[in-house]
Every structure is written in C-alpha cells, then in structure tokens.
Amino acid sequence: MIGSEARVVVVGASLAGLRGAESLRRSGFAGPLTIVGAEPHRPYDRPPLSKAVLTGAVAPDATGLPNLVALDADWRLGAPAIGLDRTRRIVTLGGGETIAYDRLLIATGASARAWPNSAEGRLAGVHTLRGRDDAQALRRDLAAGPTQVLVIGGGFIGCEVAAACRDLGLPVTLVETGPALLASVLGAHLGAVVQTLHETRGVTIRCNAKVEALEDDGTGRVRRARLADGSAVPADLVVVALGALRNTGWLAGSGLAFDEGGLDCDAQGYVLDEDEQPDTRIAAAGDVARFPHPLYPGHRIALEHWGHAVAQGEHAGRLLAGCEPARYADVPAFWSSQGGITIKSVGLTKGADGVVIARGDPKEGRFLAVYGQAGRCIAAVSFDCARWLPAYAERIAAGAPFPPDAGGVDAGPLTVFAPGFPEPHGSRPGDAARTGKDER
C-alpha cells in the first residue's frame, strides 16, 4: 500500500478516470488526489449521447455519472494535460500549471476522427459525436428539423445516429465504404442483418460507397455530399462517424510508447516506455490503454467499451494503490441499442474464421451468433437475447471448441458461415485498435 504522503494524479475525468479514482480510495489510499479533465464537465456517461440525448428523451447535461465512493479530490476541469515529464514527475496543464505526482493514472480516452478535409468539416451542419457538447449541438440541429440527414460511416455510432433520426421521423442516408453496416466488427454476414433492420425502418443505406467531398450552398452551410462514383447526396445535416483516435498527443516527449491507436501497457496495466520497459509509477485505463489480453495473444488491444473503462479503471486504481499486481483479463463486452434492437457482444470477433447462429433465428430478430477462430470460440453476439450470453462468455473465457454444440434438442448441426470481414481488415491508422465498437 502506498502511504498517504504519496501524491496521485488522474489525467482524464471520464468513466475510466472516475472509477479508477474511486478504486484508489476503496483500496485505502488516503493521500492527495488530483483529477484533471480537458472538458469543463464533471464525469458524464457517454452511451446516451448517441441515443436518448439525440431523440430528446434525456437532456445532454443529465447524464452525469454517479460517484460511488467519496473522492475528496482536487478537480482541475477544463484544463487539458499537455505534457508529461517522467524525470521530474510532473504533468503540465494547458494553462501552464504543473502538477507533481508520485503515481499517475492516464485515462485520456479518445476523440472522434475528424472529417479529413478540415474546411469541409467546419461547414455549418457538419458534426462529429463524442462528447456532451457534441451531443448538445447535434441535438439542437436535429430538433430544428433538417430536410435530409447524411451519416458518414456505418459503425456503431453511425448506426445509432441513423436510428435516432428515424425515431425523430427524419429522412436519413447512411454511406459506408465497407460491404455492410458494422462489417468491421460483426462481419458482413451479421452486418446484413443490421442493414435489413435499418432499411426496414426507412434508412437509405449505400454500402461500398465513399463520400469524397462535402459541398456548401455558398453561405457556409453544408448542402450536399459528393460521392466517389460522381453522384450527389443532398444533406443539410451531416454526421461524420468514422471512429476514434486515442488522446495520446500530449505524451509527446514523455518517452512512453504510444501512437494514435493507444498507449502501450504491460499485462498488469503499467505503461511502457520506448524500450518496452514498464514505468511502475504510471498506469493507463480505458479507451487510451493498449494492452496484451491473454485470450487474444499476439498483439495489444485497445477497447472502446463502457464496461472495459469501468473494469480497467478499477484495476488500475488497485494497481496504483499498491495492491498485489494482477493481470487484467476481463472478457471484453459491449452493448448497442439501435432501432429497438439491443445488440450485445462478449469476446472479440477480430480474426474470426467462422460464425454460427447458435440460438434463435435472424429472420425472427432474436438470435445469438458465435464466432470462432482455429477451432475455439472467441466471441458471441446476441440480438435481443441477452440471457443466453453469459453462458457463451464462459465458453469464450475457457477457449471452448468451435463450433459449439447446437443450442436446442430439435436443432440440427450448426452451419459455419464465413464472417465476411472486409479486406484488408485493420489497415487504416488506428484500426489495430478498432476491435470493438466506437460507442462512447
């Protein structure tokens, strides 16, 4: 246990940072605790920002996260960290202030990938969605009644935004470069199910299509998108949903190993320097942390999952408080609600060479799919049948044989399909980390 003279700093005031700080206190740390946040807001919950906030059912500022433990912390909000000096053990904030640390938790999260043409990205009516202020601005534009919404990107955020537009009765087109919605996470086989769901609800979907340019009407407000095939899609509101980049730029010069795909960590959660040596004063957690997972060997992964931010934040808090180091090995899990359907996943689908429908039937809208790689189960995805999922999580954690046994006494042998991941899978910068959903 570290003593009460130690100074602990948490950089990042979102879910992982908050749960990490609580875990430090719960583990008995009684010394000074400083929490640094780039945004002026107290920690808030992100999942509603792409769902109930957009439909107006929940106010953008109503999603504050509960504090579960008294923190007695010094909050520095609205003050992004801009530098880390590990020799002097100080974090520098945007205003020039420096904060000394003896233990440091890095939980700076990720940012929405911007539209590559910055001038087009600044046109009125063009949005990205990551934070509460983004959601408030997007909600305001949606409530104003746009004529035609365009969503660029068929990942989880793009699908959830398109679903919210239909909830509001707005015409919406979704353009995706891949062969199907959610194809990089679920594969085209299940992506086709998602596509049918949204098409049935009135979303116009154009897959294998690429937006090349956003054009305005001469007044600086977006008017249409130009596609690679030369066609145009009219749009007076555009949501750019192209995934996320990890917030690691402030670590330049720190000697730590990072890029826009994450900050490298060892199996316990300590950060690694450029020589792959751990700095045992510093841990990372949440979206920003890229770590080795025992179930998915051979590469480090960074997960943008709500439950992961909680679990790894709590793990890092215990680690920094001086509890016995342990390996972080929670089975990844996420959920997404879109168009009235709840999609839940355990494990990671990346690298799967087969998928079976183990329970239910996609035609009936309720089913569970299991993904396998080299003869073992690596992931399971449920559509509106979450109660089956925990049993498959156990099989994934145990590396059980794939394909699994058929799910019912009346079921025949399971048919193994190709998952249909787009090729090349994971080729864009940052895609090594796109192993889950971009949900928060």
């Binding site: 999942p47 929940v58 500022d61 504050g64 439950g307 009235g340 709840t342 509106d384």
Partner: protein
C-alpha cells in the same frame, strides 16, 4: 408507446446545465443541485424489467431488451429509485445522491 422524456426539459439552452463544473481550474466544482444520478450497467442488464415495475416513471423497457432510464431523477423519486435498485435481479443499477456536497 409514446416517447417519454426523463427529468428536466431535454432541450435546455447552453449554460443552464446543473451538472457542469466551472471552467476555471484549480477549484472544486460547485456543489450540484439536489438530485440523484443513476446509471445502469447495460452489459449486465437482461431486461427482467423489475425496475420498470418498481419505478415506472424512471425505467421503461422498449422493445424486448432496450432499457431506457432517467439518469437524473429528482430527490423526490429516491424511494422509487431505491426500490428499483434493490429489485434488479442482476444488480445493474448504481445510484448516487447528489444532494450532499461532492468533492
């Protein structure tokens, strides 16, 4: 089912937030207005809907498994919210009372 708006008016203007800290650094955020904060771990949630019976004004199941909930109920709802928290078979509901000073 009609759309249900939770908590305070959803489309409040900027600057009217009761959940934001001052944007100055070096100070603790001002204490929040009295209220509750609720999150549900939707990884755990299996749509047993017990919360919807315990606190029907604050938890609604849409479709088969999509739980919609009020993340910021007023303190007047405390008894209902507590009943929902206890009733959850998978203990997925977390509640904080923000009526007290927070640091």
């Amino acid at each position: 089912m009609p759309e249900r708006n939770f908590g305070r008016s959803a489309d409040i203007p900027l600057g009217m937030s009761d959940n934001s800290a001052p944007s100055v650094t070096g100070s603790s955020p001002a204490p929040s207005a009295a209220g509750l904060r609720v999150t549900v771990d939707l990884n755990l949630c299996q749509a047993y809907a017990q919360c919807c019976y315990a606190a029907p004004d604050h938890f609604v199941l849409k479709g088969r498994e999509a739980l919609h909930y009020d993340p910021a109920p007023s303190t007047g709802a405390r008894a209902d919210i507590e009943r929902a928290r206890i009733a959850c078979p998978v203990q997925a509901i977390r509640v904080e009372n923000t009526g007290t000073s927070r640091r």
